[in-house]
Symmetry: C2
Subunit: 157 residues, 2 copies
């Protein structure tokens, strides 16, 4: 049920950006950037899913799947996010939860992103080893996600 | 206008997968895989956009943007696609254009993916050099995209 909800929310965000574009509330560039960053977040969620299930021991540990999912997370986290955080795409517009701090504290935001990249790279080395290594690495990725969301993402309304 | 259409199509694909899930036509795993691969394709499109504009000389050549976009394409193309092509997610279901050949010709499909990875890695080395290098590398990425779509993606209905 929680997974169904996640799919619904990703779809909702993308639909909202498109709706805002159709209404002329945002420029095409803002709508594209929002759709792209939502797609990027959706992929994080997709690859965190099987890792989370293994960490919670709801699914059997599978070294091959864990390694592939963690490598994909590291590839995503290592991507240059230059195109996502365009001016005018903060939480003041429909479908965005991006806090103003992303723009007013660019250095902190970049450091927060770098913390995720480092945690994801470490996880990609650890995930295929064994369940304990996966658990430790996964915990650090979760902390990096949470810290960034806490500082730079507005609560759901 | 063409860009607006692209955004609309990405949204439509994702909405269709969610709608198919809500209708009980597909399993949750199939809907998640379809949404994830659509998000992945959407990110290809997002990073191809500025490169295409430079290649067509509709936008000025910018070595930094070209390099970042091409590196992101290479990161995406290098990701392990193990999770996307789950059984039951072919074009027989709503919102999917995945041909049966993806499953009946897994070797060819993997080779097609590898061709894109190689072209994208070459582009990521070339894109930041100058416009001519970008044009050559971009052409090869376009050919790899087209070849895979031709062989493994059903025409739009």
């Amino acid at each position: 049920m929680r997974r169904l909800k996640t799919i619904g929310i990703a779809t909702l965000s993308i639909s909202l950006a498109t709706a805002a574009l159709a209404d002329g509330h945002v420029t095409e560039d803002v709508a594209k950037a929002m759709n792209a960053r939502n797609a990027h977040m959706q992929l994080y969620s997709f690859y965190l899913g099987p890792l989370s299930a293994m960490v919670k021991e709801e699914a059997p540990y599978d070294a091959s799947v864990a390694g592939a999912a963690a490598s994909n997370l590291a590839a995503l986290a290592g991507m240059d996010q230059y195109g996502y955080w365009v001016e005018g795409s903060d939480a003041s517009i429909e479908g965005s939860r991006a806090k103003a701090e992303i723009w007013t504290d660019g250095e902190g935001f970049a450091a927060s992103q770098m913390a995720l990249t480092e945690a994801a790279v470490a996880l990609s080395s650890a995930a295929g080893t064994d369940l304990d290594a996966l658990k430790a690495g996964f915990g650090n990725v979760g902390k990096a996600c949470g810290a960034c969301h806490e500082a730079y993402r507005a609560p759901r309304e």
